[in-house]
Symmetry: C2
Subunit: 244 residues, 2 copies
DNA sequence: GACTATTTTCGTACACTGTACCGTACATCC
DNA sequence: GGATGTACGGTACAGTGTACGAAAATAGTC
């Protein structure tokens, strides 16, 4: 990739994510806002994917010179970080009033839908970096929900990571094949059907019986999200019941 | 990214992954092999990351012109796919003789270690694409293990995806911060310590009490993998017990 | 109104990327 | 010894993120 490694200054990244007020007053008036730039980036990424998101294209969409973007955003990595926090704001803030299990389930489904609405999220430089306000609010709220189930600090984070990890991992698998088929203009079913004879030439029922059995049963037609989520919540519930 | 969208021909991809024998005989002798190229790619990706893996660099490492690589590999995407299947071969094939739960646990730990040994795996065009032999063998073996627990075809795949999804998702979170700190030459703890004052300026204990409580308890010092894995297997065990 | 300080705007340039194209060098078959 | 088919690799092209620096526009001060 031609993209250099940016030496992202953490202070500028945080200032952008949390929209720290700059010292306005003198100088030429800005013609854009951070949010305009972020919105344009999101629109492009949703439509064409993160691979086709370039500073030149964002600028073109806004009718502006490429380098003008750099007054609003320190660089591409930070733009994507801001885009990430913005779309995270589309999900509901978890509420413990519903009870811990429904609240966790709702959050997981919201996140699952979010990843499918904005598949580029899964390719973005990714979580566990510096977080913006939307992400932080949801994390705190979710931890509060888990706390209300009667778990201590270590278990709170453990459950959080378990849920976040499961949804993210399965979404990565699910979104990937979805994108691949979408790019070719086929439905997901058509896409795999087209490849089936080719796969069968290598993956035979004799050599891979369990895999063939699963395929024959049509199990690949579902994404498996609901099933895995139920098991995950069951596992958490066992722990909750065992906690004093 | 300057990388064009490759129109990967599925047939060539499969032929590469499964090392379909080409019609040898005539013509000039090849100076390299597919495996040499793949090995060079893996070495570079391990050392510098996937972002710094370029066809030019691989060629340079092998002392060969860039375009010569294209006789062994249809393109970069397919090279990465071949690299992926190769390193997957480093993990043990699951064995149901150990019992379903220990076998699943061992596999999950192997995968976790694999992702940390080859972080670029998580950025590679990703699973659920066309699979190579190593990946297929492990998938079939793992499904066999799950079958031995007494689950039907749909549940077999569900458990497989649950485990694969959880490990992948949590590894993505874990590997990310690990890489970020490694790039700067700091330990992970130093890296976060350096950012702590900055984060505290925005993320206060008053506004985010649950998050602060977790941080104060030192919960962030562990990756949470063991904890989440235990819950996941617990959830699966509940299902196994409820199955006839 | 003139001057100065400060900010935004953006053209140009650079070091990269993946790979299409195509002539050349080589190994085998007839 | 051709003919044929393969491997090799130089060149070229359309992209990328962004450093640099000059020009333009605004606000405050005299």
């Amino acid at each position: 990739m031609a993209e250099k490694i940016e030496r992202r200054e953490p202070a500028r990244t945080m200032a952008l994510l949390w929209r720290a007020p700059g010292d306005a007053g003198r100088g030429r008036k800005p013609g854009l806002t951070i949010d305009t730039v972020v919105a344009a980036g999101i629109e492009l990424a949703d439509r064409d994917g993160l691979a086709d998101l370039s500073m030149r294209r964002v600028a073109e969409k806004l009718g502006v010179g490429t380098m003008s973007l750099y007054t609003y955003v320190p660089g591409k990595a930070d733009l994507v970080a801001a885009m990430r926090d913005h779309v995270v704001g589309e999900t509901a803030v978890p509420d413990k009033a519903a009870g811990w299990r429904p609240a966790l389930e709702t959050y997981a489904r919201d996140l699952w839908a979010l990843y499918h609405r904005h598949p580029w999220l899964l390719l973005a430089p990714c979580a566990h970096e510096l977080q913006g306000p939307n992400e932080t609010v949801r994390m705190d709220a979710l931890l509060t929900v888990i706390e209300s189930a009667g778990l201590d600090a270590h278990h709170m984070l453990g459950v959080f990571l378990l849920l976040e990890g499961y949804v993210r991992g399965l979404a990565t698998l699910s979104v990937d094949s979805q994108l691949a088929s979408a790019r070719s203009g086929l439905t997901e079913i058509e896409w795999w059907a087209e490849r089936e004879p080719l796969i069968n030439a290598y993956v035979t029922a004799e050599k891979f019986p369990a895999l063939s059995k699963v395929a024959a049963a049509g199990a690949f037609d579902t994404d498996g999200f609901d099933f895995g989520l139920a098991r995950t919540l069951d596992g958490i519930e066992l722990l909750v019941q065992a906690s004093p």
